[in-house]
Amino acid sequence: MNDKKSARVLVVTSGKGGVGKTTSTAALGAALAHLGEKVVVIDFDVGLRNLDLVMGAERRVVFDLINVIHGVAKLPQALIRDKRLENLHLLPASQTRDKDALTEDGVAKVIAELRSKFDWIICDSPAGIERGATLAMRYADAAIIVTNPEVSSVRDSDRIIGLLDSKTEKAERGECVDKQLLITRYHPWRAARGEMLSIDDVLEILSIPLLGIVPESEEVLRASNVGSPVTLNSPLSSPARAYFEAARRLKGETIPMYVPSESRGIFNKLFGRKAA
């Protein structure tokens, strides 16, 4: 029996670097796979790949996205199946080529082939607004905009929203790419003290719906140190729970938004409970 799937294509993007695109791609991909979905995550950061490292698959890369585009390898040869979740796959970027090796037609073909085999295709965009980033968003049905509550990140996100509304295939067809905001590296007590932009500030400025709020946490660093998405490495930690809830919202579930506590005391209790 050949069950024909039709994947939803997501791009995880931000404009600014270092805000958590790769971490979020890995965490959401693993969370969706854990929830029973068939997921492939694609690294579009040609020349500076890192999704393989964050997912702990860096020593299993044989072929990559560019090899597939150039016909050096077939798509199934380049897909790496996750060791922990059998319905999670990674398509790595090339480390040696430059971003010009990506072609629009090539990416279109790869996405089209993956669409029939997966439920979710998650494209991890490189930072910036150049070729890699525009091709990562090119065929997206929906975009997850990763933003830190900080001025330069919010500005770049605004710019990326503009690109999603003009440079994607869906936008060119006169349709609208579904856009959702994922706020990462959030410090509740800093926001409470007025030292950091609050969730409301960011939402008001960018005016797109909120997918989730991921608090700043040492668990994220710990997970990347050991090469495991935070949702698998410490599933009960506050960032992992935020990612799991975001994944369930992506699946269409209605889950009340959990805003990490804005008082330090409660926030600490939260960590205390997790450790117990």
Binding site: V151, R155, A192, R193, G194, M196, S198, D201, I205
Partner: protein
Amino acid sequence: MKLFKLFGRGSAPVARERLQILLAHERNALHQPDLLGVLREEILALISRHVSFDPDKVQIKMDRGKSVSTLAVDIEIPNSYGVAGGGFLARSPAGALAQ
């Protein structure tokens, strides 16, 4: 939370305000690439059909406000070789047609 803001301890309100102003400008700029440049060119072309002036002595300024923006055009016209008396405003469209 409000208390801290009232005492002006945090810098977040400043960040928020700076972003709102900046993004209002940048969003406009994306939709109207170089609006000022286009306006400048067309306004100068129009006026130079009627009076002569030194292009270096032209100032075009746009102040974008929240609800209203103002466009200020300041052109210095020398009386010696412009038109006598009331400057270029004195020239009627009829004068232009007569040329």
